[in-house]
């Protein structure tokens, strides 16, 4: 199955089951959880269902486009269901069937895998979903986000898009995946993941491991932090402040891949990101008690 077909089917499936279809957030981030649609959406008491694709960057996973299984940037398909429905596992299984996976012929398991994001002050319990020995999704019941208890609890489903595509097609190399077809007057041209992304993988890996300016990134990290607290403290702006926290997080990931963060330094740096993210979460909730709720309000949910 083409990558775009898989995305379209998941979007259709979840839209039909009462989810808003959101869009990726246009800042670098390590996981779909960091998108404000999830980070803020999981807070507070109001119902909230949303699904979206999120390109996720993990600088340390970069392999210069040479490793057939590991990449700097991959696609996550993220679903948030709040409160978690009683039949959430069944819903998830139906979504696999919508992708054409006939479960009567496969081995599906939910194996314990508890999720934690120290930089978001978030954790949950759940599973990795394993199909015929392959991890295809993460399934988490959020217990805390931004240092705050989740009431009600959201279920978060995260599909690894490339992995599922490779698995379904029996591909041995991620770059051989077909993203989709381009049709012109001259015919139909399949476009591979490699054509679209291999050079990007090379350059971004080289950047993360070799070229990123360490001093600049340290300066940036400090500056984003300062900016974030200023926005939050002086203006009460938790969305723009949260963006600064996301930038801090990515800057840290680059420094880390570059080998510029020692093991002793690491927890302190992560705490600085967490402190800002948690403060944003608290400010959001205070605000959400009032009238206008930026994320939850009807009509504004997916539009950023």
């Amino acid at each position: 199955m083409h990558i775009q077909e898989l995305i379209l089917r998941l979007q259709r499936f979840w839209a039909d089951r009462g989810c808003l279809i959101g869009q990726p957030y246009d800042l670098e981030k390590g996981a779909g959880t960091m998108n404000p649609l999830t980070f803020f959406g999981a807070l507070g008491s109001k119902p909230w269902n949303v699904a979206y694709v999120e390109p996720s960057r993990r600088p340390a996973d970069g392999r210069y486009g040479e490793n057939p299984f590991r990449v700097y940037k991959h696609l996550q398909f993220q679903v948030i269901l709040k409160p978690s429905p009683a039949k959430v596992q069944d819903l998830y299984i139906e979504s696999l069937e919508a992708l054409g996976i006939d479960l009567s012929k496969h081995d599906l398991r939910f194996e314990e895998d508890n999720w934690e994001s120290p930089s978001l002050g978030a954790w949950g319990v759940g599973w990795q979903v394993v199909l015929d020995g392959m991890e295809i999704s993460q399934f988490t019941y959020f217990q805390q986000v931004g240092g705050l208890d989740c009431r009600p609890v959201s279920a978060e489903l995260t599909y690894g898009i490339e992995r599922i595509c490779m698995f379904l097609g029996g591909y041995d190399n991620i770059f051989d995946l077909v993203h989709g077809n381009v049709t012109t007057d001259d015919g139909v041209f399949p476009v591979t993941y490699g054509q679209m992304r291999q050079r990007e993988e090379f350059e971004l890996s080289a950047y993360s491991f070799e070229h990123a300016d360490i001093d600049l990134h340290r300066t940036l990290f400090d500056a984003f932090e300062k900016e974030g607290w200023r926005l939050l403290n002086d203006h009460g702006h938790f969305l723009s402040a949260y963006e600064q926290a996301l930038k801090m997080s990515h800057t840290f990931n680059v420094l880390d891949a570059r080998g510029a963060v020692s093991t002793t330094e690491r927890p302190g740096i992560i705490k600085r990101v967490r402190d800002l993210a948690c403060a944003c979460a608290r400010a959001y909730l205070e605000h959400a008690e009032g009238a206008a709720v930026p994320v939850e309000a009807a009509g504004k949910g997916g539009a950023q």
């Binding site: 081995d107 599906l108 398991r109 019941y141």
Partner: protein
């Protein structure tokens, strides 16, 4: 005796992590039996242990989605309970004509009986006969008691990582989706977090693709058969046995045997509801990877077993368990093979990358790797281990080349912590360092020592197979233990986060099995010297704590070695630091304890101890003062005894003392009036005791 019924409870949940299944199962048993005891529902003669189990083991019904308990022998109701109530004195209840008074009638009314049921007796503690009634409280139906208690018992289960779900505040290990609860054929009406109990449950997910209706469980006895028909083997032990049998068959078909891994077998049994072992293959060129890498990679990534041939070499295939009864289109096999190939590709990448640079290049990088906050980096640890190795190796060997190799091994031991492979598979620490050095052509002694220097990893694990491996392991562990003690990180109670006790036990076992001429005091002194620069506690304090710590480890080692309690106590009381001597004493004592003369000798030794208890020791021994033949004979023996060095010979000589000692105590009163004679006898006994104490303190026998 009334008929009893069987109780059945099943909590059907979303997938429960395997590690919580057993603890939750046991805990519920425990609280269930406490409840039964409290409500007088326990059948007579049923033994309840602190673990809540009865004499007959309860079935271990647990699977990824189920925790279930079936407990037989429950009466239909509590036994009726009778109570005696004492009322006012007889004279106030009955008038002179023998008619009931108002007070008497009120008493009967209070307890709901006719006045004719009131008796007059004199209860203990009363001075006159009083009105007495016996009330029978009918026992309540068991089902009612269960319905009241169960929700609390379930909610009270202790879950280390509890979760909430949906909009509820209820906490449990994973969401509860169905409750089956039967007392005989009757449903026990309970509701937990909005889920009401029924007499139905759900089978395997695959089963319900064809059968949308839940599975009805007519009686507790039909439970596991009904579930097996619905694709769930609910007993974890049955699943384990089936997996083990299939593993054996499939491995034999492949031409080898399974590389045993009981923990992996347990895990597989816990994570599937209907086990089917599937064999997969991987490209044989991956066999160039070290065996340990393949075994760990298969286990950690795919929960798969390796298959080895008679010579220990692996075959290019693996076995794992699927959660279904078949693999109709080979998808399960193909999927697992596909994932494994990706994993092995990674492992081969690490193996190749790591070998692009000599292992020694990592030495510098150890500076950035913290061993322990107060104790510094692994680079610093390496320095201390090298120093310790030097101090101890020079006492064990005079061969300079050999000592140099030991130092080389110590220097390189931790380098593999900075390799990609160990980063991916931490449990390959040591193994990879050894393998990489072997590929670099290092001396066999060196790479073998490094490869095994984390052993023994547990009580069942062997010590390293080579003396150099043993020395390196000992020095590494000794630095860890002494270093932590010197900065105040001392295990206490159940708290031992750094596993220092295990490390300490490893040290003692190596010394014990190697029989090196090093005492624990020697080790402690050498270690104190190397950790001194990092110490935050006074050295004397650390020394004392370390010696106490090692004394406990030695005591445990003696227990492991299987010596009787009396042997252990009396042998170690006279010295525990020299393990070679201690072992010899224990061996000699164990053998001698069988000797017929032993009881008499031990008795005499105790008697000597009692006599000398309140006396100042008198070293100077005036043999000439002795008068009686028995004491003169003893004095002669003493001379020979004191000249004997070897423990076995000494014990044999002591054994020969049994009779003379008995004769002595029969013939002589030690504490006689003549001061000189008395002093001579006391000093004779004192010196005899000294001789005894070279082997054992008999006052601690029994």
């Amino acid at each position: 005796m009334s008929a009893t019924k069987t109780f059945l409870l099943e909590l059907h949940c979303e997938e429960i992590p395997a590690r919580f299944l057993r603890p939750l199962h046991v805990e519920f048993n425990h609280s269930y039996f406490k409840f039964m005891e409290k409500e007088s529902l326990l059948p007579t003669g049923m033994a309840v242990t602190p673990y809540g189990t009865v004499s007959e083991p309860l079935p271990d019904f647990m699977s990824p989605r189920k925790l279930a308990w079936r407990i037989p022998g429950l009466p239909a109701a509590q036994p009726d309970q009778t109570e005696t109530q004492v009322g006012p004195p007889q004279r106030m209840c009955v008038d002179e004509a023998g008619k009931p008074t108002i007070q008497g009638l009120k008493f009967a009314e209070k307890w709901g009986v006719e006045f004719s049921a009131v008796r007059f007796e004199q209860p203990a503690g009363k001075k006159e006969p009083c009105a007495v009634v016996t009330i029978t409280k009918p026992g309540r139906p068991t089902v009612e008691l269960l319905a009241e208690a169960l929700p609390g018992l379930i909610a009270g289960l202790h879950v280390p990582k509890a979760m909430r779900w949906g909009s509820s505040e209820f906490e449990f290990v994973r969401p509860i989706r169905n409750i089956l609860c039967l007392f005989g054929e009757q449903v026990v009406p309970i509701t937990v977090d909005g889920v009401a109990a029924t007499n139905t449950t759900w089978g395997h997910r695959l089963f319900h693709r064809q059968h949308p209706e839940p599975v009805k469980i007519a009686t507790p006895e039909s439970y596991e058969a009904a579930l097996e028909a619905a694709g769930v083997v609910v007993s974890v032990e049955v699943r384990r046995q089936r997996i083990a049998a299939q593993l054996e068959t499939l491995a034999a078909e492949a031409g080898g045997r399974v590389v045993a891994d009981p923990e992996l077998l347990d895990t597989l049994a816990e994570i599937v509801e209907f086990p089917k072992v599937v064999r997969g293959d991987f490209p044989s060129d991956f066999l160039e990877l070290p065996k340990e890498v393949l075994v760990v990679s298969l286990r950690e990534h795919q929960k798969a077993f390796c298959i080895e041939q008679a010579d220990g070499a692996l075959l290019p295939c693996f076995l794992t368990a699927a959660n279904r009864e078949d693999d109709p289109e080979g998808f399960v096999k193909a999927g697992n093979e596909w994932v494994l190939k990706a994993r092995l590709y990674d492992a081969r990448f690490f193996f190749a990358e790591d070998r692009k640079h000599p292992l020694a290049d990592r030495l510098e990088k150890l500076k950035a790797l913290t061993f322990q906050r107060e104790l510094g980096s692994y680079h610093e640890k390496t320095g201390r281990v090298v120093a310790l190795t030097k101090a101890l190796a020079t006492r064990l060997s005079t061969d300079d080349a050999h000592i140099d190799r030991a130092l080389e091994a110590a220097r390189m031991a931790k380098c593999d912590l900075r390799t990609l492979m160990v980063g991916e598979f931490p449990e390959l620490q040591g193994v990879m360092g050894g393998e990489y050095l072997r590929h670099e052509g290092a001396h066999e002694e060196v790479w073998k020592a490094i490869k095994e220097h984390y052993r023994p990893i547990g009580a069942d694990d062997a010590i390293p197979g080579t003396p150099m491996g043993c020395l390196l392991s000992l020095c590494d562990k000794l630095d860890t233990v002494a270093g932590c003690f010197a900065v105040g990180l001392i295990p206490s109670g159940s708290k031992d986060p750094l596993a220092l006790r295990r490390a300490g036990q490893g040290i003692v076992r190596i010394l014990w099995e190697q029989g090196w001429p090093l005492t624990l005091a020697d080790l402690v002194e050498a270690a104190l010297k190397v950790v001194a620069p990092k110490a935050t506690k006074p050295e004397a304090e650390t020394r004392e704590a370390l010696l106490t710590f090692f004394k406990d480890r030695v005591a445990y080692q003696l227990e492991l070695a299987g010596y009787a309690g009396s042997v252990r106590r009396s042998a170690s009381a006279v010295g525990w630091m020299d393990l070679v001597a201690l072992k010899a004493r224990c061996e000699a004592l164990s053998a001698f304890a069988e000797d017929a003369r032993f009881a008499s000798l031990a008795q005499s030794a105790k008697r000597i101890g009692n006599i000398l208890k309140d006396e100042m020791p008198i070293e100077a021994f005036e043999a000439a003062v002795l008068q009686d033949a028995t004491e003169r004979a003893l004095a002669e023996r003493l001379k020979a005894l004191e000249a004997t060095g070897d423990h076995g010979t000494l014990l044999a000589a002591l054994a020969d003392l049994a009779e003379p000692l008995e004769a002595f105590f029969t013939a002589v009163m030690v504490k006689c009036d003549d001061p000189a004679l008395r002093a001579a006898r006391l000093s004779l006994l004192h010196r005899l005791r000294q001789a005894f104490l070279r082997v054992a303190d008999f006052s601690l026998w029994q």
